[in-house]
Amino acid sequence: MTNFKQIEENLKKEAKKLLEAGSVAVVLAYTKGADEKHPQPFAAKKADDVANIIFNEYCNHNLARYIVRYAPGTKIAVAVKAADSRAVVVLIQEEKIKRENLILLGIPVSGMKNQKTGEIIDEKTTGGLTNPVVYDVLLGEEIHTGKPVSPYTVLEQYEKMDKDARFAFWKAQFDKCIRCYACRKACPMCYCDPCFIDQTKPRWADKSPQSHGNLMYHLTRFQHLAGRCIDCGECTRACPVDIPLYLFHKKVAKDCEEMFKQAAGMKIEDKLVMVDFRVEDSDKILE
């Protein structure tokens, strides 16, 4: 089990050091929300801010989401759990940020909890990983206990459905959608400005929350994330009506991994599977 208090202490220490030395403009971490059980992403900009940093089992938010908000060239330190670090890797691959402008404060964790239900959600949020894939400083001991969990076991039931059943499943799910766009806003990989759904000419989908527009929005978003989704589960966590978006993303991620032998955001040197053609690539995608 992760020693959250220890990590919090180390995080504060590192953040303080970086801010005092002026080596970064901002440290992306967590702070207390209404209470400790409801932490908030936090941008510490002064050494004084560091006292407000916390880290506990409810700090699920993917902090990589905030990186693109700062002007290019800004020196940023980010507290990265496994999923956050994978998002950072994709952002680097997509040239949204430069590695040299980042200081990654790695956090190995297991035992993260859903703040509403209290259940342990490691499998859902970190793609089965406990240690960040890239970091400059590690704020705790790497975790190497037990056998690695497959991120795809939750797909078992889903994969039993045939094509029609899946379509019916998703249509029913998307009919719940209220188009608040929390999923795309929480997603560290959704940084387009403007998002296709906000464009008016052409208008890709109706704004009203009806089946066809909802399908258009979600399926297009799914497609835009193929081979890029790093399985942090933020979209699902953000959804106010509990649409299990992670199922689709995981399924695509699994297919990608099978076809191209590469999971998203694992190594900075990797090329994105959807933009890189390799002779040995599977032809299954054409089927």
Binding site: Q40, P41, C180, A182, R184, S208, P209, Q210, P240, D242
Partner: protein, 349 residues
Amino acid sequence: MAASVLKKVVIEKINEVAAVLMQKGTLIAPVKEEAGANFREIKDPKDIYLDYYNSILSPKMVFFPQMEDFVKYQLAKPKADAKIVEMNLKPAFLFGVRPCDVKSFEILDKHFYASGIIDTYWKARRDNTTIIGYAFDLDKPVDSADFYNTLGIGAADPEGSDIFIVKKDKELLLKGITKKGEALLGELSMLEKADAKDEKYFTDYVKKGKEKKTRFMKVDDKAVAKKYEDIFENNEYWTKMSDACLSCGVCTFVCPTCYCFDICDETIFGKGTRRRIWDACMFTDFTLETSGHNPRTKVSQRLRQKVCHKYSFSVRKYDVISCVGCGRCTRSCPVNIDIYSMVEEATKL
């Protein structure tokens, strides 16, 4: 309290009440969904879910649905063939609304009836609906996000409802608050007459409701409105508040007092509908002008608009804080932003 009708019914028999209401018109009540309770039209009385805390989406959607159709049209040359969408409303019964949400209807009335311009759709749905309020269960703990006390609302305030319900063990006590509510109670023959003990229980419950504590701070409407005018350009405060904000629209969509909307023409294969759809000041394109000018490009500016609108502009324009402390925005926020904490921090500045 003036002598008014108090009736009672055992909880199991609520199905019978529902059946009558469904015969009279549309019954809207909380039902259990995957993510929690929501107000939906009842097709089967068994779906009514009275053991809920509060709904995820606010019941404003009964009067102000996310989508309201104005005109249906068929594009053609030389001119489109357009037909106004008639509402054809049946009487509606909105069952099981919590006191803080009832209060939100009054706030929205002020807006939709403001400046002598009456919103046709809001009024039609409002006039057509009997509101059956339902006290919070005082034996259950208050959700940590709630702060309706701060806005002067009690957990069992009957004001604003036509009929108000209080739970007493295995029974529901139903009190007629308005003439409309009393008349309806008279028509529900399965209800039993309540006795003096029930009367006392009801009155005590309302009183106890006032003592049920949510988060509380003393807020003077005028003072907080002035405070936000003063700190409107306090960038440090607004940046700090919005550093975590994702600028999604959850808080506004679940909010019982948010009313912003867009009017869209949505056409598929030449057939279309002009309708209004909820919109949100948190969206980037909300204020994007055709010229390309956008006065609110930053998250901090958009969050500022939301908070100031509720706690400052609304006070100055409608003489009321446009928030009922239901806690929905806080509960639904993906990054745990809490408007109560924001106001608290502002008052300390």
